[in-house]
Symmetry: C2
Subunit: 337 residues, 2 copies
């Protein structure tokens, strides 16, 4: 346990016989320093193992090089990929990300937002389910750039990135209709706030309406979380209907995989008796039996895009209008539908 006090810039200065000002400048190179003193200072820095204290520098420079990533749950396989996209972009500019899991619970979303604003971080990437523009006030008031992730947001109060999932689910639904199936269900209308499920349900409805098929409310199964368990539950409800659907569009792959399990348990053959399509194309989608037909969601690119939007305001000092980036998604036809 041999830790002596960490060396400060003053230690370096006195040992090198110069002022802290000069030490600071040899490090930042923001003004010329005589070669001889520069060398001397560098030697002492090396000898003492001096490293500038990041916090002190941040306080002074009003810049922390830290960004918050607020998501529902890193354990949901969509987010690690998005997080990686974000981090790869941030790392290039020496920014790091603090990740917060909210479980999509409004109270937690608000708490983390406030905590991150208080710290403060330089920017926030927010994947919020229950959040409304009003809730973002703390961040905007503090002048902290924000990127909202989700197709349901409009760029009124922050930059926005999202997937064009309304078109995506519509495409998936049309794919089913084209197979001659017209009794199609949907699992995953979020019982809580608005959430991204709204746009996906919309796409599903778009396709049906476009083909002149009347919407049947009982074919839409709401769930509280986007997990296998809830997907299974939703599927049980749908299959328990007097006249069960012949195909089901799911709000995401996890839910679809849950539904898949239940279908088989209940003796339904997939896709013959009931076809299933997911959303996201997580790694597991291609691994289940049968491999899942799904809509590929460009998670990594989404994370990158969010990072770039943020960095444009942090490092390129962009101050223009809020922007909206909508990434296309596309159907990946496999065997479950």
């Amino acid at each position: 346990v041999t830790h002596r006090r960490r060396a400060t810039i003053n230690d370096v200065a006195s040992q090198a016989g110069v002022s802290p000002t000069t030490v600071s400048h040899v490090l930042s190179m923001r003004r010329p320093v005589a070669e001889s003193t520069r060398k001397k200072v560098l030697d002492v820095i090396d000898e003492l193992g001096y490293q500038p204290h990041g916090l002190a520098r941040s306080l002074r420079m009003r810049q922390t090089n830290t960004v918050a990533l607020i998501i529902p749950d890193i354990t949901n396989p969509f987010y690690p990929v998005a997080a990686r996209g974000l981090q790869d972009v941030l790392t290039d500019q020496r920014y790091t990300a603090t990740v917060c899991n909210t479980d999509g619970v409004r109270q937690q979303e608000l708490a983390f937002l406030e905590q991150m604003v208080a710290r403060p971080v330089d920017g926030i990437v927010f994947v919020g389910f229950e959040i409304t523009p009003e809730d973002l006030r703390p961040a905007t008031r503090a002048g902290i750039p924000l990127v909202l992730v989700g197709p349901q947001f409009s760029p009124e109060i922050a930059d926005v990135v999202g997937t064009d999932d309304r078109v995506g689910t519509a495409e998936a639904t049309r794919y089913l209709l084209d197979k001659g199936i017209d009794r199609i269900g949907f699992i995953g209308l979020h019982t809580g706030g608005v959430g991204p499920s709204r746009t996906r349900v919309d796409g599903y409805e778009d396709a049906l309406i476009q083909r002149g098929i009347s919407l049947q409310p009982e074919l839409v199964a709401p769930i509280g979380n986007y997990t296998r368990e809830e997907g299974a539950q939703g599927m049980r409800r749908l299959l328990g209907l007097p006249e069960p659907p012949r195909a089901v569009v799911c709000v995401n792959d996890l839910v679809a995989i849950g539904a898949l399990g239940v279908a088989r348990e209940c003796g339904f053959k997939v896709p013959e008796d009931v076809a299933i399509v997911g959303f996201d194309d997580i790694e597991a989608a291609s691994l289940v039996d049968p491999p899942l037909t799904t809509v590929a969601n460009p998670a990594y690119s989404l994370g990158q895009a969010a990072g770039r939007l943020l960095l444009s305001r942090l490092t390129s000092s962009y101050e223009g209008d809020y922007r909206r980036i909508v990434l296309p998604c596309h159907l990946v036809a496999r065997d479950s539908a």
Copy 2:
């Protein structure tokens, strides 16, 4: 874009007609404040929307409430679960985690370690592949508590948590031997540093030796990364042998899933022609076809344990010897072996 300057403790103080000292104390409750002034201060705080500046507080209190999680890749499904375990423990004590992806590259591991020490963070959870005790000097010198994750570490320089995977792979190997298979391969000896693969190979060898079966070096396929692709490659090599193995133990599930795909491509039936067992029991393991026999790795508990070890030094000011927590793992028999 209506952000006025963030209110400081001085703003509150002057507006409330008291000293910053008093404002600080009504917030920290570390000394009594007259009820009337307390109320007055609270009102002003509310009015101005004042929130203490976390950085300033951290600098003064020498405590940042931030922990670094340094891992190879959040995209590898083992880590999100471990990260969640860690974060759930941290959140209770108002700590947050910054996550760093090193891709298991030594240079990156060192760079992030240094960066986090410089910040500084209060503690570090390190899942290092290429790291040696020497490399941790920057952290220990700075007196920053460290938790090393991996079965290959001994608690000489930091607290350690790991899975008993030597015993786990031995159990898996014995399971195959008990099925009458004695030509068994191993995919995933890491070509780079020591890494956790060493202990898993050891377990595999333990079981063979125990049964008096001689080790065949050509049956051990080294790979550079623990991915599906590399797993596939390793399997191709093994199946290309003049006398291919009848079963394969894989360093983790991703590798096993890669191997599974290749086996089928090459016309081998699993488990009849070649049995496959993985390690970790990630979510996808139960979803592939056939469902993977694997060794369950308690990722979430591992993350929790790491968090608790860290917090014991950060909040309970434990200063005793370094501890080592080894969590048991167990075989989950499914259909691939």
